[in-house]
Amino acid sequence: MIILETKNLSFSYPDGTLALDNINISIEKGKKIAFVGRNGSGKSTLFLSMNGTHRPKKGEILFHGESMKYDSKSLRDVRKNIGIVFQNSDDQIFAPTIYQDVAFGPTNLGYPKDKVESIVNNTLEYVGLTHLKDKPPHHLSGGQKKRVAIAGIVAMDPELIILDEPLANLDPVGADEVMDLLNELNYFGKTIIISTHDVDLAYGWADYVFLMNEHKVISEGTPESIFMDEENLKTAYLRRPVTLEIYEEIKRRGLVKPQCCPRDIPDLVHSLRSQQLLWAKVPSEVKEGDYINL
């Protein structure tokens, strides 16, 4: 099922700079999707178009098959269902306490007080931050802030959650926590979109990848097909994911079983030919580099 679609979507900033150039994409329900491209390739602008913040100059956006309208009632409906987590948590967390910030969305959706309370408590439980609910945001670490920002969106129960560079500035522990959370959300039915310039992240995590460059989507497909195509990656000023790079090299030496494309290190290791096949007893006088007749 397709949640969101764009048709010939173009957008320019008020000063005339082109920001999106004829974008045609469809977002399928329940997927983990990555928009990959260097900074300034148009990812963030595309996201702000998806929830109706930027009104397209040409083309249209279809939400559940219906063309997006820009009156305030329709926009509210779209924004309830398409949540955006911004790159910089400080742009997003504006209330004085964690509790108040997570409550912001539900309160503005007009829910009664006790419903808001139970939603906020559940969401904070879910992201594992209940113990911080009375703290002001400036007492939190980067990873905790990011989870608060995500909680603020999750509390509105959107169908689609969009995250702009979710791992920017997080250390490995913070990054793992955030990715675990995203996987869990996806497991329970949310469609997740992230933007990133980290090819390893996109390759290891996504079901489907859009490659962006210069305000255009230059290719789309499974991570394997996108990241095997070195030509396109070069156009987008990106390189191959490390595991894929190493896999290719090892494959060229005939050391792997002929199945395609390990997504992570355990995968890569599994794709290696097993030891038994390669073990050879060699007479002790043979030196490294010598040819031996097996």
């Binding site: 509210r76 400080d90 504006f94 306490t97 503005n108 007492h139 969106i153």
Partner: protein, 260 residues
């Protein structure tokens, strides 16, 4: 940079005590201080509130005295002026300076001591509030005053971004001092201008970004305000009443009395 007392209040053991109780204690102390004509009353207030701050709120004593010293320069200068100019009658001592006779009268000295004690009492009440009650708790108190929502919203978001911008200011300041930005008066001034400009532009951009992110979360003119119900314990009530009684009695008995 300056100590932000709010950071202590957030972690204070007294944070979750009833807000209204804390506010009544502080208001009582402030009013008793400024209404009393004897320095003993504000002095007693200062002792009680300092004790509460150090003992119940577990503020390190050296840090507390550093705080009390903060207003010293303003207070001392002003108190000295009052001592010399205020009050009539015989001078306790005097000296000539540039042809003028400057002297301190009994009334002047009394008034100076009174003002000093009041400031001390007032500041210790204020510190008690600042160090035990974070601003985020006071928002619910402000809410009860029926001030307009727009005012409260601005106050709450301002609270949040004060800390964001303090970090920015700190970051810029470090970056400038690393490149010798505060080595003398001229460079300091130049650096300040650049810091101010950077801060100004950053805050302007921040304002626009927040509006986008608020709207993305269906902003409809509402910010939640916490309103937790926290009953006052019997022991707290007794302790407060004893304190009130002590101050009122001192107030009554020191009417018209003067120290000197």
């Amino acid at each position: 940079m300056a100590h932000i007392l709010d950071d202590y209040a957030v972690l204070s053991p007294l944070r979750y005590k009833n807000n209204w109780l804390k506010i009544s204690i502080v208001t009582f102390g402030l009013l008793a201080g400024v209404s009393s004509n004897s320095p003993l009353v504000p002095f007693l207030v200062a002792i009680c509130m300092s004790f509460a701050t150090l003992y119940f709120a577990k503020i390190p004593i050296s840090f507390y005295f550093k705080l009390l010293a903060a207003p010293a320069s303003f207070v001392i200068v002003s108190v000295v002026i009052i001592a010399f100019f205020f009050g009539e009658g015989a001078k306790l001592f005097s000296f000539d300076i540039l042809g003028y006779t400057l002297g301190v009268s009994k009334a002047g000295l009394n008034m100076a001591l009174l003002v000093l004690a009041r400031t001390l009492g007032g500041m210790s009440c204020l510190f008690f509030l600042s160090l035990t009650t974070p601003m985020i708790e006071l928002f619910s108190v402000l809410k009860a005053t029926k001030l307009p929502d727009s005012f409260l919203e601005i106050a709450m978001m301002m609270y949040r971004y004060i800390f964001v911008f303090l970090d920015v200011a700190m970051g810029v300041k470090y970056a400038q001092s690393v490149r010798l930005g505060y080595k003398d008066f001229r460079t300091s001034f130049k650096s300040m201008v650049m810091l101010g400009t950077n801060l100004f532009i950053r805050s302007w951009e921040q304002g626009e970004k927040i509006f986008v992110s608020m709207n993305s979360r269906c902003y409809d003119g509402k910010l939640t305000i916490l309103d937790d119900k926290r009953p006052v314990k019997f022991s707290e009530l007794i302790l407060t009443l004893v304190y009130f009684a002590l101050v009122i009695l001192t107030f009554y008995f020191t009417r018209g009395a003067s120290v000197i």
